[in-house]
C-alpha cells in the first residue's frame, strides 16, 4: 500500500506532512472480549477497527472474520478504502475492521455472540455519521444484522444506517449481493472499450468463485465474453471453447459450494 501510495504521491508532488498524514491511520482500536461457547467454556477474542481518514465524511469499510487477520493488514485495507471513496467522489472516508477467528469453526450462536461483543466494544466508534461497517471476508448479511441490532440496542432505537450489506427485511438494498461482481464486469468492459477489443473476441479466466467471482463471471458471460477458466480454493474448470456459466453456478449451488 505504502509503495503504491508513494508513487501516486510523487506524481501529485504531495508535500511531506500530507504524505505522513495519509500514510498513517487517524485511529486504530484493538478490543479484547470473551464469549461463552456452546460447550460452556469461555473464549477470548481480539478484534480491530482502523479508521484511516475521515476528511471527506464518515469512514466506510468492511469487517473480516479470519484467523489470519492482523492489525497491519487491517491498516492497509483501511487506506485502500480511503482512496476508493475519494476517487469515486463519494463523501466518505476509509476504514476496515476484523476479528481473529475462524468463522467455519463457530456455530451461528457463537458467531452472533462474537459479533455482538465486538459491536458493544466499539459502540462509541461506529455510527451512521461516524463509521459505517460492511461485510467482508467471512462476514455477510447475518453479521451485519447482528451488528445493527446490538448497536440499536445500545442506543435505544433502530439505527438501520449503521451498516450496509444487511438483509433486505432489515432495510438492506436490492442489488447489494451482486454489486461487487457487477462492478468488476462493468470496469472490465470499459477496459476492453479503451483497449478497442470487442467483447465477442475477448476471453476471461476467473480466480475465485464466491460471491464476487460468480457474479463477475455471470455478468461477463451475459455480455458475450468467453469465460475459459474458473477456479476456487478446491477445484478448477477449464474449457478453451468457453464454460457454460449458468450451468456451473447451478452445479455450485447444488453442491453447496458458493
Amino acid at each position: 500500500m505504502i509503495d503504491r501510495f508513494n508513487i501516486a504521491a510523487d506524481i501529485l508532488n504531495l508535500e511531506e506532512s500530507i504524505r505522513q498524514k495519509l500514510q498513517r491511520p487517524e485511529k486504530q482500536i484493538v478490543v479484547n472480549f470473551s464469549i461463552t461457547l456452546d460447550n460452556g467454556t469461555t473464549q477470548n477474542f481480539e478484534g480491530y477497527r482502523v479508521i484511516h481518514n475521515t476528511a471527506l465524511g464518515p469512514s466506510k469499510g468492511g469487517i473480516r472474520y479470519d484467523n489470519a487477520v492482523n492489525l497491519d493488514e487491517v491498516k492497509a485495507l483501511a487506506a485502500w478504502m480511503t482512496w476508493k471513496s475519494a476517487v469515486t467522489g463519494i463523501p466518505f472516508g476509509g476504514a476496515k475492521g476484523g476479528i481473529i477467528c475462524d468463522p467455519k469453526n463457530h456455530s451461528k450462536t457463537e458467531l452472533e455472540k462474537i459479533t455482538r461483543a465486538y459491536t458493544k466494544a466499539l459502540a462509541d466508534i461506529f455510527g451512521p455519521e461516524k463509521d459505517v461497517p460492511a461485510p467482508d471476508m467471512g462476514t455477510g448479511p447475518d453479521e451485519m444484522g447482528w451488528l445493527m441490532d446490538e448497536f440499536s440496542l445500545v442506543h435505544g432505537k433502530t439505527i438501520h444506517a449503521v451498516v450496509t450489506g444487511k438483509h433486505l427485511h432489515s432495510g438492506g438494498s436490492l442489488g447489494r449481493v451482486e454489486a461487487t461482481g457487477r462492478g468488476v464486469s462493468i470496469i472490465s468492459l470499459l477496459a476492453l472499450e479503451k483497449l478497442k477489443i470487442r467483447p465477442a473476441r475477448a476471453t476471461a479466466a476467473i480466480q475465485g468463485f464466491g460471491n464476487v467471482g460468480l457474479h463477475s463471471a455471470l455478468f461477463l458471460y451475459q455480455k458475450g465474453i468467453k469465460i475459459v477458466a474458473v477456479s476456487d480454493v478446491s477445484e478448477a474448470f477449464y474449457n478453451p471453447e468457453g464454460l457454460n456459466i449458468p450451468e456451473l453456478i447451478l452445479y455450485y449451488n447444488l453442491n453447496n459450494k458458493s
Copy 2:
C-alpha cells in the same frame, strides 16, 4: 507485569478464562495527529490510550509525554492501574496513555496544540464516567487544564471531572501535588511499624528528586527519619549524618531543577 500477575493468579487459583481477560486490555487506541509547529512546519505525532479494565468503574490513569513511550509500556502501566484501584477499594478501573514526544523540545504553545489534538482524537473515549486521565511523566497541571478545556469545548459545557491533577483555579484538589510523596512516606512509616523499627533509628536513601522524591524526602524528614542520600538524573548527595532536606529543596528550587 504478566509474571507478577501470574504469581498472584496462582495464589488466587484463578481460572484460565479470567486470567486471559485480566492479562489483556479491554481497549487499546492508537491515534495519529499533526500540529503546526512554531516554525510553521507540520509535525505528526502518535498517541496511545489503553483501557485495561472497567469492571469496577470508570478507568483511571495518567498520560505520559516521552520519546520512549510505546504501546507495550502503556499496556503494562494500564494493568497496574487496575490492580491499584482494586486493592485500595476505589470503584475505578485502570487505564494509561501517552504521546511519543519530548516535552523539553516543545514550546508551551506546541505542547498545548499537541494536548488539544490528542484530546480531540479521544473525545469519545474520555469522560468523567468513562475514562479519567491524570498527569504522569512529562505532564502536569497545564496539560490537564488544556485537556479539560478541549474536552469541554467539544462537549459544549465545562466538565471539570474529566481529569484529575489540574490547577486549583480550574477546580483541582488541594494537596494533589504532594499526594504521591505523602503516600510513599505513609506506607514507609507503616512498614517500619510492622518491622518494629522506630523512625528515629531508621535511615533512608531516595532515588529521584522530582515531585515524588522531593515530597517523600520532606515528609520522612519531618517524621525524624535520617535521609542519608538523595540522587537525581544529574547528581547525588550523600551524608551519613543525614541531609538537611529543606535546605536541599531550596537549593533545587534556586537552581530550577525540580
Copy 3:
C-alpha cells in the same frame, strides 16, 4: 386477535416461546395527566401507548381519542400493526395508542392541551427511530401537528419525522388523506381480478362514509364499479342502479358531515 394469530401460528408451526413473544406486547405504557379546561377547572385523563414488537424496526401505529378506548383494545390493535408492517415488507414494527376522551366534547384549545400533555408524558417513548404515531379514530393532522410540535419543543429542534399524517405545510405527504381509501380500492380490484369478475359487472356496498369509506367509494366509482349502498352512523343511501358518488360527497360536504 389471539385466535387468528394462533391459526396462523399453527400453519407456520411456530414454536411455543415465539408464540408467547408475539402474543404479548414488548412494552405497555399508561400515563395520567391533567389539563386546565376552558372553564378553568382541571380534568384528569388517562392515555395509553402499546409497543407490540420492534424486531423489524421502529414501531408504527395510530393514536385514537375515544371514550371507549381501553388497554386491551390498544394491545390488540398494536399487534395488528406488527402483522401489517411485516406482511407488506416495511422495516417497521407495530404500536398503537389512545386517550380516554370524547373529542367532540372538547374545544380545539382543550384538544391541543390534551395532545401536548400526552406527548410530554411519552417524550422518551416516541421518536423517528423508536416509535412513530399516526392519526386514528378521533385524531387527524391537527393532533399530529401538536404532537410533532411538542416533541420538537422537548428535544429543542424540529423533528418532522416523529409522526406521519401531519399537514402538508408541516412536512406531511401528498396523498396521505386519501391513502387508506385508495388502498381499499386497489385491493378490491385485485380481488376482483383474482375472482375473474370484471369491474363493470361488480357492485359494492360501503359501510361508513368518513375519510376511508368516502375515498374507497370514489376510487371504486371511478373504476366503473356500481356503488349500490352507502351508510354511516346516522343515515343510509341505497340505489340498485348505483349511487352518484361525487354528488353524494358534495352533499356530505355541504352538510358538514364527513
Copy 4:
C-alpha cells in the same frame, strides 16, 4: 392506600383535581421479555415499573421479584414511596417495580439474565435524575449490581447513581444493609419516649426475621428492650424473660435462614 390517602386528603382539605392527580400514578410501564433458561428453553416474563409522582424530584423505589407481584400492588407501593419521600423532606418522588417470578426457582445465571432483560427494556425510564431503583422483596445487592451494569452498558459509561443498595465495591453505601432495621428501632425508641415508657420496661415481639426484622431486633436488644417473641415464615420463638438475640442470629446464620 386510597382509603388512607382520602383520610389525609380530608384533613388537608385537598381540592378534587389534586386528589385525582395524587391517586393515579404519572406513568405505569408493563414490559414483556424472554430469557434462555439454563436448560436451554426460553421463558417469558412480565415486569412492571410504576412512577407515581415526580413533583419533588426523581422517583425512588424498590423492585421486587415475586410470583404474586401484580400491577395494582406495585401502584399502591409506588404511592407509599411518594408519601415517604415527601414527609421526610427528601427531594425525591415515588416509584416501585416488580417482576413476576419466583427467585428461589432460578439460578444466579437466570436471575442475572432476568434482571438485565428487564433493565434493557426500561433503559429509557431509569436514570440518576429520572427514576432510581433499590432492592425490595426478592432482590438485593446482586440484582442492583446487574441492573447498574446493564444500564451502564446501554449508556456507554459507568453510572453508579442509577441504583441504591448495591455492593460496597460497586460504590454502595456503608450501613445500607442494616439501615431499614435501624430506622425501625430509632422510631420505636422515639415512640417510647413520646409515650413516656422507659426502654428497660418495654417488651417487643417481632414478626419476620429477614434483613429488616433481624436488625430491628438487634438494635432494640442493644438498647435494653426485652424481645419476647420472634417469628418468620416457618417457625417462632417465645420467651417471656426475653430472647438472646445475638445467639438467635447466630442460629439463623448457621442454619442459612436469613
Copy 5:
C-alpha cells in the same frame, strides 16, 4: 464597569487583546416570546441573557424582572459576576439575565408563564455545567422553581443544579435567603478590623430594607453595631441612639413591606 475595569487593567498591565476580550461578553442572547394573560389577551415580552466569560467554569448570575431592564445594564452586571467569581476563587464565570416586565403588575400565573417561556427559549443556553441562573431584583425562589421545572421538563429529567436560590423542598440550600446580608455584615466587620475600629464604637446607616438590607442590619445589630438609620423606597427611620432592628423587622413584616 468599563472605567473601573480599565483602572484595574492598567494596574495589572493587561495587554490590549485581553482587555478587549474581557470588555466584551462572549455571548449575548435576546429572546422574544408571548404568553396568554389572565384576561385572555396575548402579550409579547423581550428577555436577555448575557454570558460574559466562562474561562474559569460555567457562568453564574441572576435574572431580574424589571421594566427598566436593558441589554447594556445586563452586559455590565454579567461582567461584574465574572470578577466576583474570579476574585473569590470559585471555578465559575459570569452571566446575567433579565426580562422587561413589571412583576408587580402580573399575577403568579402570568409570572409562571413568563418564566417558563423565557426558560424554554434559553433551554440550550442554561445548564449545570454551562450557565446557572439565580434570583435577582424581582425574582425569588418561585421563579427559580419554575425555571428548574421547565428546564427539567425540556430535558426529561429532574435537574436541580440548573439554578441556585430555589425553595428548600426543591433542593435549595439552607441559609441562602440571608446569605447576601450575612456577607455584607462579615465584610463590614472585617473592614472595621482593618481600620482598627471596635464594633461597639461603630455606627451604621442602611439604605434599602429588602432581603439584603434587612439581614445586613440584623447581623450587624447582633454584633453590637449601632444602626442609626434605615430607609427604603417609601420611608426612613433615624435614631442617633440606635434603632431596635428586631422590632423594625417585626413592623415591616406586620405591614407586609419586605
Copy 6:
C-alpha cells in the same frame, strides 16, 4: 421590512399579537471571539445570528462577512427569509447571520480561523434540524466547508446537513452555484409571459456581475433576451445592440473579476 410587513398584515387583517410576534425575531445572538492573525497579533470580532421564526421548521439563512454588517440589518434579512420559505411552501423558517469583518483584508488562514471561532460559539444554535446556514455576501463554499467541519468536530461526527452551499466533494448539490441566477431568469421569463412580451423583443440591463448577476445574464441571454447593459462596482458596459454575454464572462474570468 416592517413597512412592507404592515401592508401585508393589513391586507391579511392580522391580529395585533401575531403582528408583534412576526415583527420580532425569536432569538438574536451576538458573539465575541478573537483569533490570532497571520502577523501574530490577536484581533477580536463580533458576529451575529438572528433566528426570526421557526414555526414551519428549522430556520434557514445565509451568513455575510462585511464591515457594514450590523444587528438591525441581520434582523431584517432574517425576517425576509421567513417570508421566502413560507410563500414558497418549504417547511423551513427564517434566519440570517453575519460577522463584522472585511473578507478582502484577511488571508484564507484568517478567514478559516474566523469561521471556525464563530461556529464554535454558535455550536448550540446551528443544526440540521435547528438552524441551517448558507453562503451570503462575502462567504462561499469554503466558509461553508469550514463551518461544517468545525460543527462536525464539535459533535464528533460528520454532519453534512448543517449547511447548504458547500463544495460538491463535501456533499454539496449540483447546480447550487448558478441557482440564484437561474431563479432570477425563470421569474423574469414568467413576468414577460404574464405581461405578454415575447423574449425576443425584450431587453435587459443587469446591475451587479457577481455570482447572481453573471448567471442571470447568461440564462436570459440563452433565452434570446437582448442584454443591453451590465455593470458592477467598478465598471459598466453598454451596447444598445446587445452585449455578447459569454465573451463578457470570459473577459471577467481572465481579469479575475467575478
